[in-house]
C-alpha cells in the first residue's frame, strides 16, 4: 500500500511546501478580478431572467410553456432530471471515493461537492416550476392536518420529494462539514468582516486532536450515510418514469441506467467547471493531469454503461415484439424528434469513445470540449426520454408535438445562471480545494535537496 507521501508525490509533484497550499488555495478568496465580476454580473442577470420567466408563468398560468396534451412534461422535467444527475458525481467523488480511498479525489472533491449542493438547489426548483399550482405544492409533504389528508405513497412523485430533500440535506451537511477545517484556515488568513464571518461558520475550529478525531469520525459516518443515496436518489428519479406505463418509460433497466447517466453527466460537469477554475485561480499544481485522467476514465466507463443501456432499450423494444413499444422506439430514432435522439447518441455514445486514447485523456482542451458534448448529450437524453415517449403513445389519435416556448428556454438558461451564481460565490467565499486533506497526502515539509 502506498504511503501518503507517495500518493501525494504521485498526484501533486509540483507542490513543495504546506504553506504554499494555504497561500495558493486561499488566494482566490481575496480580491476578485474583473473577469469574476463580469461572470458574476452575467449570472445575476440570468437569475433575473429565471425569476422573471417564472413570475410570468405564475401570473399567467403554465400555458406560457409549450406543454400540451399529450406532452405534459417537457423542458422542466428534463432539466430537473439533468440537474439531479449533475448533483450525483459530487457525492460519488467525495463519499464513495473517500471510502475507497481513491488517491485522486482530494483536489477536486470540494468543487464537486459544491457543484452537488448547487445542482440540487437548481434541480429542486424545477418540480415547483413545473406544477400547475405551486402554491399547493406542500400537499406532497406528509404533514398532520385537520382534514386527515395524506399524500399518496404509491406515487413516485412523493418518493421524489423524499429523495431530493434527503439528498439535499445530506449533501449540504457533508459539504459543510468537510469545509470546517478549511474555513478555519481562511479565518486565520482573513481580516475584518470576513474574519468574523469565517469565525462563526468555522464553528470554533482550532485543529486540536480531539476536534480532528471527531471530525474524522463524523466525516466517515456521513460518507457512509451519503453513499447509498448516490444510488438511491437517481433510482427514485428514474422511477418517476419507470413506474408509468408510457412506452419508452416503463422499463426495469431505468434505475441503473439513470444512476450511470447521472455519474457520467456529473463527472463531465466537474471537468467543465474545474478546467477554467484551475486556469483562472492558478491551481495547476493541485489539479493535475492525473486527476483529469482519472475523471476521464470514470467518464468513459459510465458512457459505456449508458450506451449499453440505450442499445439494450432498443433491442428489448424490438425483441418484445410489442407493436406499441416497437413503434415508440422506432419513432424515437426516425420520428419527428430524430435529431434529439441522434444528438444524444452522438454526444453520449460516440464522442466519449475518444477517451480510450491516452492522448485525449491527457489533453485538457480536448477533455473540456468532450465534457461540454457530454453535458449537452445528457440534457438531450432526458429530453428524448420525456418528450419522444409522451408524444407518441398508445392512442394514435392523441399523438402530438411539443415545442418548447421562450419562457421555458428562459428558465432553462436561467437555471444555468442560477447554478453559476452560487458557484461563483463559492469560488470567492470558500476554499475551492480541500486544504487539510491535501496536506494529509503531501510529503512532510523537508528541506529541498541541494543539487550537487
Amino acid at each position: 500500500m502506498a504511503t501518503a507521501t507517495e500518493r501525494g508525490a504521485l498526484t501533486h509533484p509540483d507542490v513543495q511546501t504546506l504553506a504554499e497550499v494555504n497561500e495558493d488555495v486561499l488566494r482566490p478568496l481575496s480580491k476578485p478580478g474583473k473577469g469574476w465580476w463580469a461572470m458574476f454580473a452575467l449570472a445575476a442577470a440570468g437569475v433575473g431572467l429565471f425569476f422573471a420567466s417564472w413570475g410570468r408563468q405564475l401570473v399567467q398560468g403554465i400555458g406560457v410553456s409549450g406543454l400540451n396534451e399529450p406532452v405534459g412534461w417537457g423542458v422542466y422535467i428534463t432539466s430537473f432530471v439533468f440537474w439531479v444527475g449533475i448533483a450525483h458525481s459530487g457525492t460519488l467523488i467525495s463519499a464513495i471515493l473517500f471510502l475507497f480511498r481513491a488517491p485522486w479525489r482530494q483536489s477536486i472533491y470540494r468543487t464537486a461537492e459544491a457543484m452537488t449542493v448547487f445542482a440540487v438547489m437548481t434541480a429542486g426548483l424545477f418540480p415547483l416550476i413545473h406544477v400547475g399550482r405551486v402554491w399547493h405544492a406542500y400537499w406532497l409533504i406528509p404533514y398532520p392536518n385537520s382534514r386527515f389528508l395524506w399524500p399518496n405513497f404509491k406515487s413516485p412523485l412523493v418518493w421524489d420529494v423524499f429523495a431530493v430533500t434527503t439528498y439535499f440535506t445530506v449533501s449540504a451537511t457533508f459539504f459543510f462539514l468537510g469545509t470546517v477545517p478549511d474555513l478555519a484556515a481562511a479565518r486565520d488568513a482573513a481580516t475584518g468582516l470576513r474574519k468574523k464571518l469565517y469565525s462563526i461558520i468555522s464553528l470554533g475550529w482550532r485543529g486540536t486532536d480531539s476536534q480532528w478525531h471527531h471530525f474524522g469520525k463524523a466525516y466517515i459516518f456521513l460518507a457512509a450515510l451519503a453513499t447509498p443515496l448516490v444510488l438511491s436518489v437517481h433510482s427514485v428519479v428514474s422511477w418517476d418514469f419507470a413506474m408509468g406505463i408510457v412506452p419508452g418509460w416503463h422499463a426495469t433497466i431505468f434505475a441503473p441506467y439513470f444512476v450511470a447517466g447521472a455519474i457520467y453527466s456529473g463527472v463531465a460537469m466537474v471537468i467543465t467547471l474545474i478546467v477554467p477554475m484551475r486556469k483562472i485561480f492558478g491551481l495547476e499544481k493541485y489539479v493535475t493531469i492525473k486527476h483529469f485522467d482519472a475523471m476521464a476514465k470514470l467518464c468513459l466507463l459510465t458512457s459505456m454503461i449508458v450506451l449499453y443501456s440505450y442499445l439494450s432499450e432498443f433491442f428489448i423494444a424490438w425483441y418484445s415484439g410489442e407493436v406499441i413499444e416497437r413503434a415508440s422506439f422506432w419513432n424515437r430514432l426516425f420520428g419527428p424528434y430524430w435529431w434529439a435522439t441522434w444528438i444524444m447518441l452522438t454526444c453520449n455514445g460516440l464522442v466519449p469513445t475518444t477517451l480510450w486514447f491516452k492522448r485525449v485523456r491527457h489533453s485538457i482542451p480536448a477533455l473540456f470540449v468532450i465534457s461540454i458534448f457530454v453535458n449537452i448529450g445528457m440534457w438531450f437524453e432526458r429530453y428524448v426520454i420525456v418528450v419522444t415517449s409522451l408524444h407518441h403513445e398508445y392512442e394514435p389519435y392523441a399523438w402530438g408535438m411539443y415545442r418548447p416556448s421562450l419562457t421555458e428556454m428562459g428558465i432553462l438558461i436561467g437555471s444555468f445562471c442560477w447554478f453559476g451564481f452560487w458557484f461563483l460565490l463559492f469560488t470567492r467565499l470558500l476554499p475551492p480545494v480541500a486544504i487539510a486533506e491535501l496536506k494529509e497526502v503531501l510529503p512532510a515539509p523537508l528541506r529541498k535537496k541541494e543539487a550537487h
Binding site: Q60, G61, I62, G63, S65, G66, L67, N68, E69, P70, V71, G72, W73, P127, H130, V131, G132, R133, H136, A137, W139, L140, L149, W150, P151, N152, K154, S155, P156, L157, V158, V161, D240, M243, G244, I245, V246, E322, V323, I324, A327, L390, E393, Y394, E395, P396, Y397, A398, W399, G400, M401, Y402, R403
Partner: protein, 1004 residues
C-alpha cells in the same frame, strides 16, 4: 370550570364579533344585485332545475327541445323525446344556440345609424321611426326573413298586406329541389317522408342528412337501419358522390361518381330495375338513360350500375337526392331521378311516402332574386331583414349588397351584429328564441309551441319582432287583432282548435307541457302514380363555370350551417367531423391532386373561380375525388362578432349567384376552380394526431359474415361482466388465468369499499356500428360540464379541453373490394378504468376510485403535476393551462351549470360520468325512499341524451337486468387497449360491423 371565561361564552362572543366584522365589511356597492327572492317564487326551488319545452330555431328543421333552467337561467338544451322531428336527440348546433342567447356581441338595444355610427334609442322612438318610414314608403315595404313558424308567417302576411308590400322567406340552405321534384312527380307541394328504419338498402346521391339541416329522427332511423340487429343482419348504405361528408363516411360503400351525375346514375339503376317494362310517363327517359349511359356519366363501370340496381331492387330500399351541398344546376332533375328510382323499385309506401304534408321552413333563392331586383329597381321604400344574413350568405354576383344599400330605409331585426345589419339604418334587435313565443308546424297535423324559458337576458334590451310589428301596425292605425305576439299566437291557435282535447286552456297548457300537439297524422299514401313533367327537365350533368381543372364543392358546414353559428365558440372549437379541424377554414384536396401540385397539409393556396378567389390552407383528404376540391360554408365573416370576424374564408366568394331551374334553389355546385400554391404554410388547428390506428386495436371491426360464430371475438360474456362488476379500484383479473368467481377480490372490501358490492357499478357501452361521428355528444358534454373553449392558438398547441372527442381513423381496404375507404369513428372519453393508470401516480390523491367504480377527479385537491395525464393511455385528461374560464365574457358564463365546478388554472380535469346527474338522481331516490340506487334509465349522461343514433348506453352493470348489462353481452364487445395493458375500462365498445372482410392483424 369555575373561573375565567367559559369556552362556550368565548365562542359566543367570538361569533357575534365575527359576524359584526363581516357585516361591516360588506360593501353596499352591489347590494341591489344581491337581493334574494323576497317572496319566493313557488315554481322555483333553488338547486332544482325547471324544465320547459320549446322548438329549436337554430336551423329550419325545427327540432323539439327540453330547456333546462336553473334559478331563472337557461343552462342546457336536450332533445324532446315526444317530438317526432328530433325524437329526443339534439345536434351540436342546437346546443350552441345557447351561445347565441348569451352572446356578448348582441345589440344592447334598438339602434339607429347616425353618420355611420350606431346610437342606442328607446323602443318607443324606434317604433315611431319605423312607423313613420313605412308611412313614407307608400306601400313599398319589403320584408326578407327566414321562416320561423306558421303564426309568424301569417302575421307577416297580415302586416305587409296592411302596410302595403310583401314578404319574402329566404334561407341560405334549402331543400327546394326535392320539393319541386315531388311536385313535378306527384303534384304534391311537400317533401316526401322517409322511413329509413324500414329500408335494408339506402343509396344517397350526395345527400348529407347527418351533416345537419335534416331532422334528427332520420339519423335515429338510419342507425336502426344500418346497425346490426338481433338477427345478425344489417342494412347497407351506399354513398354516391364526389366527396365523403360525415354522412358519406358512414357509408358501407363509396361510389365516387362524377359531380352532377346523380340523375344519370339513378335513372340507369331505374332502367335496369324496370327492364323496359315501365310504361309510365318517364319510360322514354329510362330508355334514354340506360346503365351504359349511367356508367359513362358517373365514371364507373356498367357492371357496377347493374349490381347496384340489383341490390336496390331487392328492397326495401331508398334513394335520396342531393342536399344543399350538392345542389347543381340540374338538382331538381337529380331528385326527380331518385324519386323515379324509388318508384320503380317499389319503395313508395314502404320507405318513402308522399301525402304526409311534410313541410320544411327553408325557401328557395329565386324569391330572393326577385326581391333583389325589386330593391335594385328602386321599387322598395323600406326593407326589413330578419333571421337571415344575405349580405354574407349570397355571393357578390347576386347584387344584394348594392341593391340593399340603395334602399332608402333599411331595418334589421338581427339580435346580434351581422353583415346585413352592419348596413342597416335601424336595428330592432329581436329576442332569442329562448326568450320569445312562436310555433312550428313540421307537417300536417303536427304543431309544436315555442315558449320563452327565461326572462330576457337583462344585458340586452331586445323585443320580439312579432311584438314590434303589432305595435308598429297599431301606430299606423292597423289593428291586427292583438297587442302582443303572445296573444296573437294564442288567439290563432284558439280559433283553429277543434276541441278534441277538452277546453282550450287545458289543451294549451298541455301543449306547453309536452311541447308538441298531434292533431292526428295525415293518411300516408301507398304508391302514388308518377305524373309527366310539366316543366322542362334535363337529367344531364350540369354545366360548370370556369375552366379550372378542379370542381369546387361548397357545402354547409356541420358546425356553422351556412355561417349562422360562426360566432359560437363551441362550434368554432368543435372539431369538424370530417377533417377534425377547428376554428379556421380549409380546402379539401385529394392526395393525388395535392401531390401533383406539390402541396402538403397546411400549405396555403389561392383558389380562383371566374367569380372570385380566396386564399386558404389545404387539408389532404383521401375521401374526395382527385378532380374536386371542397370548401365548407361559414368562414370569412366581417361583421358577425368577436369570434367570427376575420376567421377563415367565405366560400360564397367563389360562387356565382345562380338559381337552380325549376326549383329556384341556390346552386352550390356551380363552378370549376384552379388551385395555385402561394408558397406560404401554416399549422392547421387540427386535433387528430393520426389518421391510422398504427396496428393497434383502437377501433377493431368485425365482418358481418363473422358475426354469430362466437369464438375468439369479444370477451367471453360471463367473465367479462364479472370483470366489469369488480370495481373498487382493485385489479380484478386473475394473473394466472384463475377462476373469475374471485371478483371482486377480497382485498377490495376494506374501508370505503367495504360495501361496494351493494352499490352500483357505473359503466358505459358505445355501439360503434351506430355512431356516425356527428359530434353532438361533444357539444352536449361541453354544455353540461362547463368545459371551456381555448381558442385557435391553444388548439394548435394541442390544448383543446373537450372531455369527449370523436376519433376518426381511416382503414384502407383492398381497393378491389367495395368501399375502399373504411372510416371508423370512436367516441373517446375517460374510460373509468378499474385498474386506472392515472390513480396510483397522483401524489395527492386528486384522482381516485369511487366505490361505484368511477374514476373521480377532485379539482381542488389537484396540484397539477400532470403525471396522471402522461400515464393515461387514452389521453382523455385535459389540463387548465390558463384561466380559460376567466376569458369567457359576461353573460356567456350565465350558461354555466351550477352543479359543476368551474375549474381553475393549473388543475387537471376529465369526464366525470356526469356525476352531478348521478348525485341528483341519488338524492331523489333517497327523498322518495326507494333505496339507494336509481332505476335503470333514471340517470342519462349528457352525451347519451343528445346522441341521434342512440349509440351510447349507460347504467349500473351490477344489475343483471339493466340495459347496459344486456348490451355488453355481445360478441362485438371490446375495450380499447385492454388486451395490451389490462386497464379494465368501464367503457365498453361494440365493434363496427362491416360488409367487407376484416383482415385480422393489420385491419383488426
Amino acid at each position: 370550570m369555575t373561573d375565567g371565561i367559559k369556552r362556550r361564552d368565548f365562542l359566543k362572543v367570538l361569533g357575534v364579533t365575527g359576524a359584526g366584522a363581516t357585516l361591516t365589511a360588506c360593501s353596499t356597492g352591489n347590494a341591489e344585485r344581491l337581493l334574494p327572492y323576497v317572496t319566493a317564487d313557488e315554481s322555483i326551488t333553488p338547486g332544482v332545475a325547471t324544465w320547459y319545452t320549446s322548438v329549436c330555431q337554430g336551423c329550419s328543421v325545427g327540432c323539439g327541445v327540453w330547456v333546462k333552467t336553473r334559478e331563472g337561467r337557461v343552462i342546457k338544451l336536450e332533445g324532446n323525446p315526444h317530438h317526432p322531428v328530433s325524437n329526443g336527440a339534439l345536434c351540436s348546433k342546437g346546443h350552441a344556440t345557447l351561445q347565441h342567447l348569451y352572446n356578448p356581441d348582441r345589440y344592447a338595444g334598438p339602434m339607429v345609424r347616425e353618420g355611420g355610427a350606431l346610437r342606442q334609442i328607446s323602443w318607443d322612438e324606434a317604433e315611431a321611426m319605423l312607423a313613420e318610414r313605412i308611412q313614407g314608403a307608400a306601400g313599398n315595404v319589403l320584408y326578407i326573413g327566414r321562416h320561423t313558424g306558421p303564426t309568424m308567417s301569417r302575421l307577416l302576411d297580415q302586416f305587409t298586406n296592411a302596410v302595403g308590400g310583401r314578404h319574402v322567406e329566404y334561407d341560405a340552405v334549402s331543400d327546394a329541389p326535392l320539393r319541386e321534384a315531388t311536385r313535378i312527380a306527384f303534384g304534391a307541394d311537400e317533401l316526401p317522408r322517409y322511413n329509413m328504419d324500414q329500408a335494408r338498402f339506402i343509396i344517397s346521391f350526395g345527400n348529407d342528412f347527418i351533416d345537419g339541416d335534416a331532422p334528427l329522427s332520420w339519423q335515429r332511423d338510419f342507425a336502426k337501419m344500418s346497425a346490426v340487429d338481433d338477427h345478425g343482419s344489417k342494412g347497407r348504405f351506399v354513398y354516391a358522390g364526389p366527396r365523403l361528408s360525415t354522412t358519406g363516411q358512414n357509408a358501407d360503400e363509396w361510389i365516387p361518381i362524377n359531380p352532377g351525375s346523380e340523375a344519370a346514375l339513378a335513372l340507369g339503376m331505374a332502367s335496369v330495375i324496370a327492364e323496359g317494362s315501365d310504361d309510365g310517363p318517364y319510360a322514354s327517359v329510362l330508355a334514354a338513360y340506360g346503365p351504359g349511359a349511367a356508367a359513362q356519366a358517373a365514371g364507373i363501370s356498367e357492371d357496377q350500375v347493374r349490381e347496384l340496381a340489383e341490390r336496390f331492387a331487392e328492397g326495401p330500399s331508398l334513394a335520396l337526392g342531393p342536399s344543399a351541398g350538392a345542389h347543381h344546376r340540374n338538382a331538381t332533375a337529380a331528385h326527380l331521378a331518385a324519386l323515379i328510382l324509388n318508384h320503380v323499385a317499389g319503395s313508395f309506401g314502404r320507405t318513402i311516402h308522399v301525402g304526409g304534408g311534410l313541410q320544411t321552413a327553408a325557401r328557395p333563392y329565386s324569391d330572393m332574386e326577385a326581391a333583389i331586383r325589386a330593391m335594385a329597381g328602386g321599387q322598395v321604400g323600406v326593407v326589413m331583414v330578419r333571421g337571415t344574413n344575405p349580405a354574407y350568405s349570397l355571393p357578390e354576383g347576386s347584387g344584394f349588397r348594392d341593391a340593399f344599400a340603395g334602399v332608402g330605409f333599411k331595418v334589421s331585426f338581427a339580435s346580434a351584429p351581422d353583415e346585413t345589419s352592419a348596413m342597416a339604418d335601424l336595428i330592432l334587435p329581436d329576442r332569442h328564441w329562448l326568450e320569445s313565443w312562436g310555433d312550428s308546424a313540421p307537417r300536417t297535423g303536427l304543431m309544436a309551441l315555442q315558449q320563452p324559458a327565461m326572462q330576457p337576458v337583462p344585458h340586452f334590451d331586445a323585443k320580439q319582432t312579432g311584438d314590434v310589428l303589432l305595435s308598429v301596425a297599431g301606430r299606423l292605425g292597423n289593428d291586427l287583432g292583438a297587442a302582443t305576439f303572445f296573444e296573437y299566437l294564442k288567439a290563432g291557435h284558439q280559433s283553429s282548435y277543434d276541441g278534441s282535447m277538452g277546453p282550450f286552456e287545458d289543451a294549451w297548457r298541455q301543449a306547453l307541457k309536452t311541447g308538441v300537439v298531434e292533431h292526428g297524422e295525415a293518411e300516408l299514401g301507398g304508391a302514388p302514380d308518377l305524373r309527366a313533367p310539366d316543366t322542362a327537365i334535363t337529367f344531364d350533368a350540369p354545366a360548370l363555370d370556369g375552366d379550372g381543372d378542379l370542381t369546387l364543392l361548397v357545402h354547409p358546414s356541420p358546425r356553422f350551417g351556412a355561417g349562422e353559428f360562426s360566432n359560437a365558440p363551441w362550434m368554432l372549437e368543435l372539431p369538424d367531423p370530417v377533417s377534425k379541424i377547428t376554428w379556421h377554414s380549409w380546402l379539401e384536396i385529394h392526395p393525388d391532386a395535392a401531390e401533383a401540385r406539390g402541396l402538403r397539409e397546411g400549405d396555403i393556396v389561392t383558389v380562383a373561380s371566374p367569380h372570385g378567389q380566396v386564399t386558404v390552407p389545404v387539408w389532404v383528404y383521401p375521401g374526395i375525388r382527385p378532380d374536386a376540391v371542397a370548401l365548407g360554408m361559414g368562414g370569412g365573416h366581417t361583421d358577425f362578432g368577436r369570434w367570427a370576424n376575420n376567421n377563415g374564408v367565405n366560400a360564397m366568394t367563389l360562387l356565382p349567384a345562380v338559381a337552380e331551374q325549376p326549383s329556384g334553389a341556390f346552386v352550390t355546385l356551380a363552378t370549376k376552380v384552379s388551385v395555385t400554391p402561394t408558397g406560404d404554410h401554416r399549422r392547421l388547428a387540427k386535433v387528430s394526431g393520426s389518421d391510422v390506428q398504427a396496428g393497434r386495436e383502437i377501433t377493431p371491426a368485425i365482418a358481418l359474415s363473422s358475426l354469430g360464430h362466437g369464438g375468439e371475438e369479444g370477451i367471453p360474456p360471463e367473465e367479462g361482466l364479472k370483470e366489469l362488476q369488480g370495481g373498487g379500484g382493485f385489479v380484478p383479473v386473475p394473473a394466472d388465468g384463475g377462476e373469475p368467481q374471485a371478483f371482486p377480490l377480497e382485498g377490495s372490501r376494506y374501508g370505503k369499499y367495504a360495501d361496494s358490492e351493494n352499490r352500483a357499478r357505473w359503466a358505459m357501452a358505445i355501439d360503434l356500428d351506430k355512431c356516425t361521428g356527428c359530434s353532438a355528444c361533444v357539444t352536449a358534454c361541453q354544455a353540461e360540464n362547463n368545459v371551456p373553449w381555448v381558442g385557435e392558438q391553444q388548439v394548435m398547441m394541442g390544448r383543446e379541453m373537450h372531455w369527449m372527442r370523436i376519433e376518426r381513423y381511416y382503414e384502407h381496404v383492398d381497393a378491389t373490394q367495395a368501399g375502399h375507404l373504411d372510416i371508423r369513428h370512436l367516441p373517446m372519453l375517460c374510460q373509468h378504468c378499474n385498474n386506472a393508470p392515472c390513480e396510483p401516480v397522483c401524489p395527492v390523491f386528486a384522482t381516485y376510485h369511487t366505490p361505484e367504480g368511477v374514476n373521480a377527479q377532485i379539482y381542488n385537491r389537484c396540484v397539477g403535476t400532470r403525471y396522471c395525464a402522461n400515464n393515461c393511455p387514452y389521453k382523455v385528461r385535459v389540463f387548465n393551462w390558463y384561466r380559460y374560464t376567466d376569458a369567457i365574457p359576461d353573460p356567456m358564463n350565465w350558461q354555466w351549470n351550477p352543479d359543476v365546478t368551474v375549474r381553475d388554472n393549473g388543475v387537471m380535469e376529465k369526464c366525470s360520468f356526469c356525476m352531478q346527474r348521478v348525485r341528483e338522481a341519488e338524492n331523489r331516490v333517497a327523498l322518495e325512499k326507494r333505496g339507494s340506487i336509481p332505476n335503470d334509465g333514471e340517470v342519462i349522461m349528457a352525451c347519451q341524451q343528445s346522441c341521434p343514433a342512440e349509440a351510447i348506453v349507460w347504467g349500473n352493470i351490477r344489475d343483471p337486468n339493466s340495459r347496459i348489462s344486456q348490451v355488453v353481452h355481445s360478441e362485438r364487445t371490446y375495450r380499447v387497449l385492454n388486451e395490451a395493458i389490462n386497464t379494465q375500462p368501464a367503457v365498453n365498445y361494440l365493434k363496427k360491423v362491416t360488409f367487407h372482410e376484416v383482415a385480422s392483424g393489420e385491419h383488426a
